[in-house]
Symmetry: C2
């Protein structure tokens, strides 16, 4: 097994509490305490917020989407402006995905072969090719601290044979990505294998034998029952290489984070807190607040009286937020987004403290007990 070697990038495991891990991810753009949640900045912006506001939620790493930035403004433009950090004014760490997942889900007339994807841009219909080498080149131009390998992500209900082939091709692409990566950019491998524990374990071992800087678990949140994911994480999470960070891609709810951290996951990304905010749904320790509801019409209390986010701390009332939401005012999208991301930032920060104090199980039970109704499940 060969370990990672990217200059300026390292992972230190500081403490464990059960399988849960507290660590530090060192990057050229600063340290990231783990576990960590990465807000999604699809097109070079965490929707509605400026970088200072994102940072104030506790986030020290954000995710950019290669597919979107590739199609617009184009990696040459981002590179000419000094890379995604300078382009967007985000001072902390960044990770980009490979573009494969969006080429799969958003693009038109997609064809897959051993060499990668050929697809049509969903913006202008232009033909694009995404091979492992192109994924590395484009991510190199965008210039995040961490790049992701190109992988094959089968749907949640794919037959075993398709899942096995996805693992095999993902391994072949892993080698090609490692060969093509920028020396100064970290690269994570992506474990596939659906909900089959044996396949997952075998694939994780294959990828861990390569000099990746981190190990990601892909192929979740793609239609499978979410409890299946958690069962599998309990089996697989603790067996992942302890020397490297573990990233669960595209997950999830507060419930999902609490449970997955308990299995040794260090990194998460998800559009849920930002997207739900824009849909008028605030997340709190005790569940959701759907701000358009009539019961908030004259409610003078903040979204969550126990929350220290700017929206709650400055005392914006539910009544005002509801009014802004119904009136279509942009300000509410900011206020709700800052609140939701602050909850995620608080969750991972408190989880980390609990791990360092070796009381993660107790912490997790308390959080999960606090969530009401649907939010107490992974809905």
């Amino acid at each position: 097994m060969s370990g990672p070697s990217t200059k300026g990038f390292s992972y230190s495991l500081l403490a464990k509490s059960g399988a849960a891990r507290a660590g530090i991810l060192t990057t050229p753009h600063g340290d990231v305490p783990t576990p960590t949640f990465m807000p999604v900045g699809t097109q070079g912006s965490v929707k509605t917020l400026n970088p200072a506001e994102v940072s104030a939620t506790g986030a020290r790493i954000v995710l950019g989407n290669t597919y979107h930035l590739w199609l617009r403004p184009g990696p040459e433009v981002v590179a000419e402006l000094g890379g995604l950090h300078r382009f967007t004014h985000w001072p902390h760490a960044m990770l980009t995905d490979s573009g494969g997942f969006q080429a799969f889900s958003l693009a038109e007339r997609r064809k897959t072969s051993e060499d990668g994807f050929v697809f049509r841009s969903h913006l202008d219909g232009s033909k694009k090719e995404l091979s492992p080498e192109i994924a590395m080149k484009v991510q190199g131009q965008i210039g995040a601290d961490i790049a992701m390998q190109l992988d094959i992500c089968p749907p949640g209900d794919a037959p075993q044979k398709e899942v096995e082939e996805a693992c095999a091709r993902t391994t072949r692409w892993a080698k090609r990505c490692l060969a093509a990566k920028r020396e100064d950019q970290a690269l994570f491998g992506i474990v596939q294998g659906g909900t089959n524990p044996a396949l997952r374990r075998a694939h994780a071992e294959e990828l861990s034998a390569m000099p990746f800087d981190g190990i990601a678990l892909g192929g979740f949140s793609v239609g499978e029952p979410i409890e299946k994911m958690h069962e599998l994480l309990e089996e697989i999470g603790p067996t992942l290489d302890q020397e490297r960070p573990h990233y669960l891609m595209g997950v999830g709810t507060p419930y999902d984070l609490i449970r997955a951290i308990g299995t040794g996951i260090d990194m998460f990304d998800c559009v849920l807190p930002t997207r739900n905010a824009r849909n008028g749904q605030a997340l709190t320790r005790t569940g959701k607040v759907v701000i358009k509801q009539a019961r908030y019409k004259t409610d003078p209390s903040p979204l969550d009286p126990t929350c220290s986010c700017p929206t709650c701390a400055e005392g914006y009332s539910r009544a005002y937020l509801r009014h802004l939401y119904l009136a279509g005012e942009i300000l509410v999208l900011r206020l709700m987004t800052a609140h939701n991301l602050h909850l995620y930032g608080t969750l991972v920060a408190e989880a980390r403290e609990a791990i360092l104090a070796d009381r993660y199980a107790e912490f997790a039970r308390q959080w999960l007990d606090g969530l009401k109704g649907d939010d107490a499940k992974s809905a």
Copy 2:
């Protein structure tokens, strides 16, 4: 002639330079240095910005639209939440219009009589009546520092007889509004008269004989040639009562402000800087930057290298702003709005300094010389 008497409200004229005036408007929510520009917060939010950001543009008074707040969330809701200041977290002064202009321009099936307007809400079709007394009651519930009288605002091409009748009815409504106003809320009268200098002068004298806290000029920006307005302001502006603030409603471009301040106008409001920002148009001392243009694709410079607004000072590039705009990202609307309002804040602050130093004519010439092309005219 009886002067104004609202408690907590006063105007002090500090200096003149030609007809241009520098003063201070004292309100229960702080002093407003004049000349001043009031950003428009139609529905209880200056679109895209939070109160701290609006304040950072130099604004010390904002305008709320009674028509919109009346229909949603309703004046009872605003009152129950402690009034518009507490509801929206704006700490400085506020003014509301009467609702008449929007009842005229936005509402459906409007009927006008001596008693006011009867119309249907553009939101839900419900029947509403807006009389001078109701305009005062609703504005009293909303609770801004300054209310406006209900007036009749004929279109820019209205025949003289219609304009005369509008003046007469506006005068009758002025008396009813004064009788119905809250004791602790300032009230401004609205001078009509179209582009007829004699009518304007006569109507201004009529209203100045009443105990209004300020004199507004309405009925501009309603379709008349803008140079007609400036000619008329040059004639009328200097003749307005020097003891009271002069408010030019719904105006205008930087060019318009520079010229109108020169005739003795103290207060302005206009959606132009905020609306144009959301349409991708940045205003600068040298004219407009239309951010979607291809020439900015890789432009690393800020909107205006001489500007000290957060957007320019933090170095957001035109290339990034263009990308965000084309990608439909909300962040760009904030960044452009803050920039445009900062220009207006800077313009009135510099105008005030120039007046205090008795060099307004020179200042105005320099600003107007700096504007290029269409921006050098009042387009």
